[in-house]
């Protein structure tokens, strides 16, 4: 490229072919074909499945509204909600100091290194897997679910909170530091005002997410609606499954509505 342009040289085309991009696209297509064949995902199975789907759906409708089932579902659903509330509360409380400790601009290396590593471990396992371990440690029941979701909350809220803190304006902090404010007062009057709105946003988002997952930890014995759901599924009581699904989706949508409100109050 360093050679001077010869007089007769052609100009480069206005839209040069982007060979790396083309190769990447081709690779993606080849991978898709390969992976589909490896996984034995065939059109025949897919079409056969569509037949099953009709059968499946017909067994689902109408949803089962028997009072004894509804009572069972109510108990499970309330427990799921409680798991989500407790896990969010405790998890967020722990995430606040953890997130500050994991922020490069506030904490010394000796603090933020371990904090980051701890957060990374919290993040790497799906809540259901963490629930398996807690069921073994503290026994079947809601407590295992709560503990599993606390871990998930720390993995998400503390990580993103640390990033928010790292993005804040350092000049505002410097100015408050210059007033001779001790560290805690700097946090309260210079750091928190900049990051609290985002923290509340993360919290309500995580509550929604915890609610979704609290319906799942029951599959491995972590309490909540998951156990009745899985039992009904294994007994082919698909009409009960549908009732539970409708209630879960309704509750989650309701919570998203409420959390939108909360976010507006704290912005």
């Amino acid at each position: 490229m360093s050679a001077p342009a010869a007089p007769g040289r052609l100009r480069p085309p206005a839209f040069p072919a982007n060979w790396p991009a083309r190769l990447a696209w081709a690779g993606l297509v080849i991978y898709t074909i390969y992976a589909t064949s490896v996984l034995d995902v065939t059109l025949a199975r897919f079409i056969a499945g569509l037949g099953n789907a009709g059968h499946f759906l017909s067994r689902m409708f109408p949803p089962n509204m028997a009072p004894d089932k509804l009572a069972l579902i109510y108990t499970g659903m309330v427990e799921s909600l409680q798991i989500a509330v407790l896990a969010t509360f405790a998890g967020v409380l722990l995430s606040l100091p953890l997130g500050l400790a994991a922020a490069r601009n506030l904490a010394p290396v000796a603090v933020y290194g371990p904090a980051r590593a701890f957060i990374a471990i919290c993040r790497s396992f799906h809540p259901v897997i963490v629930a398996i371990l807690f069921v073994k440690a503290v026994g079947f029941g809601a407590l295992a679910g709560v503990l599993a979701l606390i871990v998930a909350t720390m993995g998400f809220v503390a990580k993103l909170f640390a990033e928010v803190v790292e993005e804040m304006n350092p000049k505002q902090v410097e100015a408050v530091r210059a007033t001779a404010a001790p560290f805690l007062n700097v946090l309260i009057m210079a750091v928190f005002p900049q990051v609290m709105a985002r923290f509340v946003g993360l919290t309500v988002y995580q509550f929604d997410s915890n609610l979704r997952n609290s319906t799942m930890v029951g599959i491995v014995g972590g309490g909540g609606i998951g156990a009745p759901l899985f039992t009904a599924y294994q007994r082919f009581d698909y009409d009960v499954v549908l009732t539970i699904l409708i209630i879960i989706v309704a509750l989650i949508m309701l919570c998203e509505l409420v959390s939108g409100r909360v976010r507006r109050i704290f912005q």
Partner: protein, 274 residues
């Protein structure tokens, strides 16, 4: 210190200052009180068996003792193939979700599709997709397609449509009008406006969302096997049921390493692509 004359201070009553207006205070107090009630209510009704709790440290120690040393021989037997399957499920599921979510996102973006009914329909699909956990999607698809990777791919895809579609349609709505209007003014056909007006602006966002979801899906696909939807979760489920904790430990370690590698790869790709 205080240079103001005492006269002015005496003439005026001391001024008070409140951080929030009364309305703001009521709103905040309500959130605090309701949250406190929710926590107390949850704490009172949730069942904690004290015996189990006292036992917890011992049980945890026991858990790790049983896990170590790992059953390394189990890796070539079952874990390796299951791991590859998990990877394929996550990747194919993400690709399928991208293909399905892309047109829906254009339908949902109010600046591209000026039809409220279509916007609403696409939004509704996104919300339904997101409200159902991928494990629940897996239950449904296992019932339809039978146990195996196909159900896994479908559940990953269906859970991801809402996530990708929502974030991508938001990126579309934030796209600048300038280039789009310029193209519209030249009388370009609608497909052309899409490819040359919108796509260049939102392509980085598209790949960023795709990578983010792929990263999440690697984690999610590891548990789908617990309900029979293929992947490493099937092996995990079997080992758990048999209480072979040395195998469980191995599988968890493998999942952990894959997740770490995925994070490294996605952050590398993100830095290069975006």
């Amino acid at each position: 210190m205080n240079a103001l004359s005492p006269v002015t201070q005496a003439a005026k009553p001391p001024r008070v200052w409140h951080r929030f207006t009364p309305a703001e205070r009521i709103g905040r107090s309500m959130v605090y009180v309701l949250s406190a009630i929710a926590v107390v209510w949850s704490l009172r009704t949730i069942e904690v068996i004290p015996e189990f709790l006292y036992d917890a440290p011992e049980q945890t120690a026991d858990l790790f003792r049983r896990m170590w040393p790992f059953d390394w021989a189990f890796y070539p037997e079952q874990v390796h193939d299951a791991l590859i399957e998990t990877f394929h499920i996550a990747t194919l599921g993400t690709l399928l979700a991208l293909v399905l979510a892309l047109p829906l996102a254009f339908l949902a973006a109010r600046n591209f599709t000026r039809n409220p009914a279509l916007n609403w329909l696409a939004q509704f699909i996104f919300v339904s997709s997101r409200s159902v956990n991928s494990l629940i999607w897996a239950l449904l698809f296992v019932a339809i397609f039978g146990p195996g990777a196909l159900a896994g791919v479908m559940s990953i895809a269906f859970r991801s449509i809402g996530f990708i579609g929502k974030l991508f349609s938001e990126a579309l709505e934030e796209a600048q009008k300038g280039p789009v209007e310029a193209l519209t003014a030249t009388g370009a056909p609608r497909a052309m406006i899409l490819v040359k007006g919108y796509w260049p602006q939102v392509e980085p966002a598209f790949w960023s969302v795709a990578l983010l979801r792929w990263d999440i899906n690697i984690r999610e696909s590891a548990v789908l096997g617990l309900v029979g939807a293929g992947g490493i979760g099937v092996a995990l489920d079997a080992s758990l049921n048999n209480l072979y904790w040395d195998q469980v430990g191995l599988i968890l370690a493998v999942i952990f390493s894959v997740v770490v590698v995925t994070e490294i790869v996605t952050s590398w790709l993100r830095a290069r692509l975006i």
